[in-house]
């Protein structure tokens, strides 16, 4: 810091301290009030309610207990985690390839711009319209299935259906890998050409370049983004609901049906399930921010 910087920075403090503090707080206060009222307070009631009996409001571990002893509920976490993992890995891998091809593959610049715009759209394309698009493509009467049938191969005779786990994973990819493209693109752009040139000059093969230079640098960014993809799929609800009508027991779907107040629903268990989700997502986000920091050290 230079002298003039220090002077500049000190100048505002010459004013009366009280006005500075009150003014500053007036600016930030609406944010804290707003988020407390409409995010933090309503969400924290979930934590409390998961330790409450849904009828008597008495404090209890019963909900957590039910959750831990229900094969069905534990199963729903597994299905969600499995789906999120598969689509995060698959979407992450293909999204990375796509972004790398567009940035470093020697394609026209306009291709890259188009890919980014399209990714912005597709990563937000979910729910009913997305489900519908895949029904039009991959349902028994869908376009692609029709083409395959014409070629003499009907996947529906070989165990494939759109409305199960595999189908859902294919559909989720539609918003997973564009998200990967969007988030990983800056990291790929940040890789310097000199690194490749230097390793080539030292006689490294392209495998060695990837193994010892590119992947160690990109590693944290890749992993961090895939964690983001995991969270993205884990919290998804509308797409699965629209596609399968709640036939697949994802955690979000189970929560939806437990809390909706159906006769069979148990609100307390619904809240306990939500709490479990928040814990898993929180772990994912903590991992993401930690890795993000590591990446920022390399890529400026």
């Amino acid at each position: 810091m230079t002298v003039s910087d220090a002077v500049k920075r000190d100048a505002p403090q010459a004013r009366p301290a009280r006005t500075k503090v009150s003014w500053a707080w007036l600016g930030v206060l609406p944010f804290f009030i707003f988020t407390f009222l409409f995010l933090i307070y309503p969400s924290s009631t979930i934590v409390i309610r998961s330790f409450q009996d849904s009828v008597t409001k008495a404090f209890t571990f019963e909900n957590i207990n039910k959750l831990l002893h229900s094969q069905y509920l534990i199963q729903s976490y597994w299905i969600s985690i499995k789906l999120s993992l598969i689509t995060a890995l698959g979407g992450g891998f293909f999204g990375f390839l796509l972004a790398y091809a567009a940035i470093r593959g020697g394609l026209p610049k306009s291709m890259y711009a188009a890919l980014m715009t399209f990714s912005g759209v597709a990563s937000n394309f979910a729910g009913v319209p997305l489900a519908f698009a895949f029904i039009a493509l991959l349902s028994p009467t869908g376009l692609l299935i029709g083409w395959m049938r014409a070629l003499g191969y009907n996947p529906y005779f070989h165990g494939f259906t759109l409305y199960t786990f595999t189908g859902l994973a294919i559909v989720y990819m539609y918003f997973q890998f564009p998200l990967m493209v969007l988030v990983i693109a800056p990291a790929i752009e940040g890789m310097r050409r000199e690194w490749l040139e230097a390793s080539e000059n030292l006689g490294a093969s392209s495998f060695q370049y990837w193994r010892y230079v590119a992947l160690p640098i990109l590693g944290p960014a890749l992993l961090g983004t895939m964690i983001l993809l995991f969270g993205n799929a884990f919290g998804a609800y509308a797409t699965a609901q629209a596609l399968t009508g709640g036939q697949i027991n994802l955690v979000t779907i189970v929560i939806g049906s437990e809390l909706r107040g159906d006769v069979l629903g148990n609100a307390g268990v619904g809240y306990a399930l939500s709490l479990g989700m928040v814990v898993i997502m929180a772990l994912a986000i903590v991992g993401y921010t930690a890795l993000q920091r590591r990446t920022e050290r390399w890529l400026r």
């Binding site: 409409f38 969400s43 020697g106 983001l228």
Partner: protein, 258 residues
């Protein structure tokens, strides 16, 4: 180099195939509303339907208010943090990430239960829906605005304005806002896309909106929902295209609630 180009084109080709096949299938399907011929009948039907206009209009209204509330809250916050209370940065950033951590389906139940009992009986008030949408789009809106504010020299601009005798509202409205116009627009379009496509909140808060209406029509009809899917995709694409045009890809996008 030639070999490199080939694999790049190949990957791109696969990507384009996966991107476009579902859309092509939806589009072709949407043209089949009249038996035995291709027509835009389904599109005429949806645009003729007062229900469509009513629900779509409602979503546009929610989106507009969401964007206004977002600007009113997040612009001053990011500005003040940058200028006066850098200490507030990490708690604020943490809070803006929370909507990613809390799945929308979980969030909406917390919201409904909290505000459906006295003395907080405001669950029927449309303002609650707008507030919830503002929270849902907060990660996008706040990050866009914050990126925009970091990119300009807030301190010099503010001091220059102050020394010319400008009041705080004048500084924010006439100096800061015009300088971060692009960032705000990019946040606004993302918020718009989110609100238009959002299914859960409006559904559980029982308000008219585009996505729940589309979900409803999907159960009743065959061709109209396909047409609506194409329309909503086109609308989102136009919004994103505008962001790219004015922002040159600077808009920050991280995750979305599905």
């Amino acid at each position: 180099m030639k070999r490199g180009k080939f694999w790049a084109w190949f990957i791109m080709f696969l990507g384009i195939l996966y991107f476009f096949l579902p859309l092509v299938a939806t589009f072709i399907f949407s043209l089949k509303a009249r038996l035995g011929e291709l027509s835009f009948q389904a599109y005429f039907n949806i645009f003729k339907s007062p229900q469509f206009l009513y629900n779509f209009g409602a979503s546009v209204v929610w989106a507009t208010f969401t964007i206004i509330v977002g600007i009113l809250i997040f612009v001053p916050t990011a500005f003040v943090i940058r200028l006066r209370v850098p200490k507030a940065r990490s708690p604020v950033e943490f809070i803006t990430l929370l909507p990613f951590v809390i799945p929308p389906i979980v969030y909406v139940f917390g919201l409904v239960r909290t505000y459906s009992q006295p003395p907080l009986l405001i669950v029927d008030n449309p303002a609650l829906l707008v507030a919830a949408y503002t929270i849902l789009s907060m990660p996008y809106m706040y990050r866009s605005v914050d990126t925009g504010i970091r990119a300009i020299d807030v301190r010099t601009l503010t001091e220059a304005a102050q020394s010319l005798g400008a009041s705080w509202p004048t500084i924010i409205l006439r100096v800061i806002l015009p300088n971060i116009r692009t960032a705000i627009l990019s946040g606004a379009f993302l918020s718009f896309a989110i609100v238009i496509g959002e299914l859960i909140l409006a559904g559980y808060l029982v308000k008219p909106a585009f996505a729940p209406y589309m979900a409803y029509v999907m159960q009743q009809k065959a061709f109209e929902p396909a047409a609506m899917a194409i329309v909503s995709f086109a609308l989102t694409w136009i919004a994103m295209g505008i962001i790219q045009l004015i922002g040159r890809g600077r808009g920050v996008q991280v995750g979305a609630g599905h």
